[in-house]
Symmetry: C2
Subunit: 430 residues, 2 copies
């Protein structure tokens, strides 16, 4: 339940998609790493807040207590700490596992791919952070998914807001996870959850409401830097200062048109410490894509400066920032779009079918195909001793093989091969 087989057509589409994402990661100089799908249970515990219950655990069959990885970020932090790595720009494409309620039509599965790019190391502020946003921009543009916006915020700004609105520090995380719902429900509901379930005062909630409904660009950052309360708050000031720097760099990258500084963005995970961001596809006019409303977030990430330290025996910190591309959601979109277009994706790359027009020519086919393989040419033949020529040409049409190399008695006698273009039916002897 919640997993699936990928038949060839899906596997081919997925390969095309992953190739696009990975080529962007490589364009930015990232190296690949690989970590096991199995982690020690203790490595994963206490990293995912409420979602810890979604971790798949292995049965105790003797030996270590194991679990399946929940994401690629925690294994990356564990890797950095274990190997005492201080600097690294890496990507990782692999499956992760979550015992969630599957919503497969919206691309939510229990086993799914993640495509992560992260930059670890002590660097000058916001330069790696800006690169992560540039990567999201490049990938979503390359894939032509339609219009999108990348929402950006900073955990320090959010915490500053909570602070100046009179929320006690012990309730920051609760307030944060409630704010996170603003993209799905109206402010009134969020407010009543804050006051009801989370125990914030109505006044605090109202004050928060004034901030978290704001979104904009450099102008909003400037406005908040002048805000009489926020400008007095150390955390918020730091966050706003860095946000201004980030926008400066994004302006040089020429991508601010798709960036929105959005105070309602909170993101669920506990480990973020600075900039956070999330890319959302905007509703399409197109009728085919209209079904896709609700696909929502297709990439997200942020800065997590404390996570590596949790795995280091001496608590040595390695600041990190990274992005995860929501490949399954993008895959769902591309799949539906392909279906709507009627385009048929080839599942193999075969260039030529080796065919014979008469009986008793299996040996000739085997000899020729062997030469082709040895020359690096992608070639197939039917696994029959005496297939009909029509069947062989039909196979080419069904599977998209563009050429047939035909050897009949005449060709054998003349020492040639007849090469046929399957679609135009043109033939040349060679």
């Amino acid at each position: 339940q919640g997993t699936r087989d990928h038949p060839p057509a899906q596997a081919a589409l997925r390969e095309r998609l992953l190739r696009a994402v990975v080529s962007c990661f490589k364009r930015h100089g990232a190296a690949a790493i690989d970590t096991p799908a199995l982690e020690l249970r203790e490595t994963l515990m206490g990293k995912y807040g409420e979602d810890t219950k979604l971790i798949y655990e292995l049965q105790d069959q003797g030996g270590e207590l194991l679990a399946l990885r929940y994401d690629l970020t925690v294994p990356f932090a564990r890797y950095l700490a274990m190997n005492k790595v201080n600097n690294m720009k890496r990507y990782h494409v692999a499956k992760v596992y979550r015992r969630d309620n599957p919503a497969t039509t919206r691309g939510r599965y229990r086993e799914f791919y993640q495509c992560d790019f992260d930059i670890a190391g002590q660097f000058d502020p916001m330069i790696p952070d800006a690169e992560c946003l540039k990567i999201v921009h490049e990938i979503l543009s390359d894939l032509q998914l339609g219009d999108f916006v990348i929402k950006v915020n900073d955990r320090r700004i959010l915490n500053g807001v909570f602070d100046v609105c009179g929320v006690p520090e012990s309730k920051f995380i609760a307030a944060c996870s409630t704010v996170d719902k603003l993209d799905k429900v109206p402010w009134e509901e969020v407010r009543s959850e804050m006051v009801g379930e989370k125990g914030l005062s109505p006044e605090a909630a109202d004050r928060i409401g004034e901030y978290v409904q704001l979104h904009g660009g450099l102008d909003l950052i400037e406005q908040l830097l002048q805000d009489p309360k926020l400008s007095q708050n150390k955390l918020a000031k730091e966050g706003l200062g860095d946000m201004k720097l980030l926008f400066e760099y994004l302006t040089l990258f020429g991508i601010t048109g798709k960036i929105s500084f959005d105070l309602s963005l909170a993101r669920g995970l506990d480990y973020y410490t600075g900039v956070i961001f999330e890319a959302v596809l905007l509703q399409q006019e197109n009728e085919h894509v209209e079904e896709l409303v609700g696909v929502g977030s297709v990439a997200g990430g942020g800065r997590y400066d404390g996570l590596v330290g949790m795995f280091d025996p001496k608590g040595r910190k390695v600041p990190c920032v990274g992005v995860s591309i929501g490949i399954e959601r993008i895959f769902s979109i591309l799949e539906q779009r392909l279906k709507a277009s009627g385009e048929k994706l080839r599942t193999t790359e075969t260039q030529v079918l080796v065919a014979t027009p008469q009986k008793d020519l299996l040996a000739a086919r085997l000899k020729l195909i062997s030469e082709l393989w040895d020359a690096g040419i992608k070639a197939e033949m039917l696994y029959k001793k005496d297939p009909k020529l029509l069947k062989q040409l039909q196979y080419c049409e069904d599977t998209g093989i563009p050429l047939a190399a035909i050897v009949g008695e005449q060709e054998l006698a003349d020492g040639v091969v007849k090469l046929r273009d399957v679609s135009t039916r043109e033939e040349v002897r060679m």
Copy 2:
């Protein structure tokens, strides 16, 4: 335990290796499929004989009882049955899991990659089987692993041998698994296990010994086809007839020089029903590779005509033949060889580092690198506001970046970039 992280150098080598294997599979017209790493426990039970105990089971957290896949063959058979697929040529590269005693120096892990190529469908005899052997030959030749031999046998011939030697059918599997040890221990030991543990009569064991120590080529096949006892056995006759056909096809492929018809080859798995084969690297003279003795088998496979039927509610059979490339063992060899050669594998593909020779030029770097990325050029820069030029060039040398694109005040004023070849130190303004 028994798993490992792949740091960038290993991940890059693995990528190179997998690319070579997959490109061979694609050359033979295979399509990719993907199946979940999780399977229902019941799917895996009863397929691996004694090794069933090595299956990793997931904890019962409610819902289905799951296990991690043990190989890619059983999931493939399950896939064919579930989707009622009668014909398919597919490859699958993925990790599998075994709770085995790890012997990591010999490339034996609890989590490891398998690279499988299989042909499913009802075809004329031995044509797909011959292609599997051709694939093994191509891959081992391409990877330049040194001299190798591909041992070939047929389960029907083995069973015929057991039959004519007076072994009761109920003991065929036991006899088979004992014969399988002949590549590691001398005949005397195998004989005493047959008589002692497996309860075969000494006479039967001696008669088996006369057969299973034979190996050769077409001549041996002819000799056995004339054998007074074997030639009377239906199974053996069928197997020998097909073996002769196989050698005919392999002769047309020009690869019989590396093929040995070897009656001692038995292979452990229960599900084989016809041709079986295993590729072994021959001992090297080379001192560096000498440590690798014991790496042994680097590819194996065979025909399994009954497996799909085990998953089909109506027992519908789909004959299959396939090969699995022992990628981990080959990886160990390539890794040790790389180490011995002193060659340093690049872990990134970055073509150019964007650098500045003076202070306060971060904006110029960000602008230029953004243009390069947008033009599809693999580019990096240091994440510092004012890095020293020497540090930047040092980074190129450390990571193998061939070019530096330098923008200083003069270049900015002139509207040019200075492109420097890192190794020759040649510079051009452009």
